[in-house]
């Protein structure tokens, strides 16, 4: 059982404070969907949890250990981040990209052990990338490339998986496929998954928990049906959205004013 927790974290880019005494915790087997308006601090929270941004106050703890005391390679063995940039101009093959996930565990001169080879093969398998494994990643479609970087993160064999808007460049079919995959992986590998999502419906459908952020703080945290309510949606995202319930999940629809 892994836990990753931020306690009263304040974080800033130079003078601009983005997180204000924000607290958040997650554990194995959970899929936490972080939602909120632009500028609420969602991506910053993710960067703080990944140890990429040092908080100016508060702590982030990985299984009770202060993240700030761990080296990058120690963090990388336990926390994987799916990158938002997955463009490269260089002709890396899919297998080579997935193998980048083993960077923290390689021997000197980048020698791969038997474990490394197995982990890469398993990640390729789980994301159905076998037919593409020898293809150049810069020649794949956006969706295929994203699967490759997701496999790279899985190859890290970390217990925590962090994703910043993993569906942002995908069409609805691929969005759905990505999230189904994430849910399966979270269950099968007992991962703690935290994903920043813009789409409230996808968040409600796949999140075991929804965390709503506004102005640098977590303002609501709970099961989708408890959290996604008409008043909250109006308070956070403004007028013009209505919430209906369908098959035990809340759904958020635009309320279209009829032309006068």
């Amino acid at each position: 059982m892994t836990t990753l927790a931020a306690t009263a974290v304040t974080a800033a880019y130079r003078e601009r404070v983005v997180l204000r005494e924000c607290s958040f915790a997650m554990g194995s087997g959970e899929i936490v969907a972080v939602v909120g308006p632009n500028g609420a601090g969602k991506s910053t929270l993710l960067r703080v949890l990944a140890g990429l941004l040092r908080p100016t106050a508060g702590t982030v703890a990985l299984d009770g250990q202060d993240l700030a005391t761990l080296s990058r390679s120690q963090v990388a063995r336990r926390v994987a981040v799916v990158p938002q940039i997955f463009d490269t101009l260089f002709p890396f093959t899919v297998r080579e990209v997935v193998a980048l996930g083993r960077t923290a565990r390689l021997g000197s001169f980048g020698r791969a052990s038997a474990d490394d080879v197995v982990a890469v093969a398993r990640a390729i398998d789980e994301l159905d990338l076998a037919p593409l494994a020898s293809r150049r990643v810069d020649r794949l479609s956006g969706g295929e490339r994203q699967r490759a970087v997701l496999a790279m993160a899985l190859a890290q064999e970390a217990n925590v998986l962090l994703l910043d808007e993993p569906t942002v460049h995908l069409d609805p079919g691929h969005q759905l496929a990505t999230l189904v995959l994430l849910r399966d992986l979270a269950t099968r590998r007992q991962l703690a998954v935290c994903a920043v999502l813009h789409d409230l419906n996808l968040a409600s459908a796949f999140g075991s928990r929804i965390v709503v952020m506004a102005e640098g703080q977590v303002i609501r945290d709970g099961a989708p049906l408890e959290v996604i309510h008409a008043d909250l949606v109006t308070a956070v995202f403004g007028d013009g959205l209505e919430v209906v319930e369908r098959d035990g999940h809340p759904a958020v629809l635009p309320r279209i004013a009829s032309p006068r």
């Binding site: 390679s73 990158p83 260089f90 960077t103 390689l106």
Partner: protein, 328 residues
């Protein structure tokens, strides 16, 4: 397996190029006499082979190998196929420091160290500027290179004109500036070889970490690379290699750009393979370019930088056009 055969092929190519470089020259010397000269005959042939051709070929190999390796590292680190020591202004910075060392009258073995320091300052500056550019660094790096190169060029001109010490040997210095390996002495070669060995060693150790930069510095960090330490080390290795190359041969352009790029089509992008392959191919390429520079219009000689510029500049333009989607 395929990698090993490519590396073996490149090594064989280097040996053949070097043999050609030693056998062919302004004075026709038969292969038997060349062998005799290599192993110590004390006639004119011995002097030509041991004091002129051999150091020249070895120098060209070191310069080409260093520049290509530095290019591979810079391209990987900056995620930019258009980067190399010449284009980024790193070579110009090294030149400026080397010329300043000569003007100040420092001992000859200190010149490569000065060149290293100049290269380190410049390449760090380029890295900082590229970082300001955010995601797309390609244009920033090129612009920074243009500015740094013309600034260094201006200061070098000033130093050349105002220094008595240099005015006397202006022709030699100008020849060196344009990229020439024609007059290389054994002591120079020895110092440069040590610096290059250091730089290449670092490059080989760091290679697999450079791969992690494929999706940016932040992703490198989440993959377990300490970005500050690794970046510093890679920039240091680049500076060692560029500094040694400049100390030996002045400004030789585009080797670092063309060689890694061409090799990626053959052996892929992984730096663990690309770094050693770049060294071998760069070395062979510059030995051949130097051979061309002294035979094309014999008995006159071109600086080898003219040959690499002639081939490299059109290649650079083609690359720029092809990668325009990331340049904007």
């Amino acid at each position: 397996m395929r990698t090993l055969s490519v590396l073996a092929l490149l090594a064989a190519g280097l040996v053949v190029s070097a043999a050609a470089g030693i056998l062919i020259g302004a004075v026709a010397i038969g292969p038997g006499d060349v062998l005799a000269a290599l192993f110590g005959s004390n006639d004119v042939n011995g002097t030509i082979i041991r004091e002129l051709r051999l150091p020249r070929v070895l120098g060209a190999a070191l310069v080409g190998g260093s520049l290509a390796t530095a290019g591979a590292l810079l391209q990987g680190l900056l995620r930019n196929p258009l980067a190399d020591p010449f284009v980024t202004g790193t070579s110009a910075g090294a030149t400026l420091a080397a010329v300043a060392a000569i003007v100040l009258g420092l001992a000859a073995p200190l010149v490569p160290l000065a060149a290293f320091a100049g290269a380190l300052v410049t390449v760090t500056l380029v890295w900082r500027l590229a970082r300001l550019g955010g995601g797309t660094t390609v244009l920033t790096v090129l612009l920074a290179g243009v500015v740094l190169t013309s600034f260094a060029g201006a200061v070098v001109t000033f130093l050349l004109v105002s220094s008595d010490r240099l005015a006397l040997q202006l022709r030699a210095v100008l020849g060196w500036l344009q990229g020439g390996v024609s007059v290389i002495s054994w002591p120079e070669l020895g110092v440069a070889a040590i610096v290059v060995a250091l730089g290449l060693g670092f490059a080989l150790v760091l290679a697999h970490r450079v791969d992690a930069y494929a999706f940016g510095e932040e992703t490198a960090a989440t993959l377990g690379v300490d970005p500050d330490r690794t970046t510093t080390a890679v920039l240091g290795a680049t500076a060692l290699l560029s500094g040694a190359a400049v100390a030996l041969a002045g400004l030789v352009g585009f080797v670092g750009l063309v060689i890694p790029h061409a090799l990626r089509f053959v052996i892929g992008a992984t730096h663990r393979r690309l770094v050693p392959a770049s060294f071998l191919a760069g070395a062979a390429a510059l030995v051949l370019a130097d051979l061309g520079s002294r035979t094309l219009i014999a008995p006159a000689e071109l600086p080898v930088g003219a040959i690499t510029g002639l081939i490299g500049a059109p290649f650079f333009l083609a690359l720029l056009v092809r990668s325009r989607r990331i340049v904007v």
